[in-house]
Symmetry: C2
């Protein structure tokens, strides 16, 4: 998985194929709503295992059934393929 | 466990017996730092089980080894015994 910073054109192209995510302050962002805390934290637990396996971790917050996720690659100074790969995995878990 | 809003005097007294937490915008707040994501999310998982059992849930965020927690009781419009009880449990989990 490439850890090189993507260009604006590459980001736009990848965003077009990624449901539910938008750009916010240069990061990939998605807000998810679950019926309750168990639903939200259950999702986070599954996503945490995927993130750890990828060695690429989200910035995220949780309030009861709500989870807000932001993805970026700090050591690349922007978005990389890793962020889009993790976003896609999270969509599949949410799906 | 009482869900009644505590007075300023009651909050001050309880804060004096609670290590590591401060008041921020009327909420109980603590920031914890762990060596890595596994440490941070491991703590969150244990705390999530306690919170669910108490039926009282945190507002929290996580970036790699960092966890920021805010506690309040929304239906009481302020801090209650529940917030201090959950904070104490989290301190014990943090060790």
């Amino acid at each position: 998985m490439k850890r090189e910073k993507l260009s604006s054109e590459e980001i736009t192209a990848r965003l077009g194929q990624l449901e539910g995510w938008s750009l916010a302050a240069g990061k990939l962002k998605r807000e998810l709503q679950f019926p309750d805390f168990v639903g939200a934290f259950g999702f986070m637990t599954r996503a945490a295992l995927v993130a750890e396996r990828m060695n690429h971790h989200p910035e995220w917050s949780n309030v009861y059934g709500r989870v807000v996720i932001e993805l970026t690659t700090h050591d690349a100074g922007g978005l990389t393929e890793l962020d889009f790969a993790l976003a896609k995995c999270m969509n599949e878990l949410y799906g």
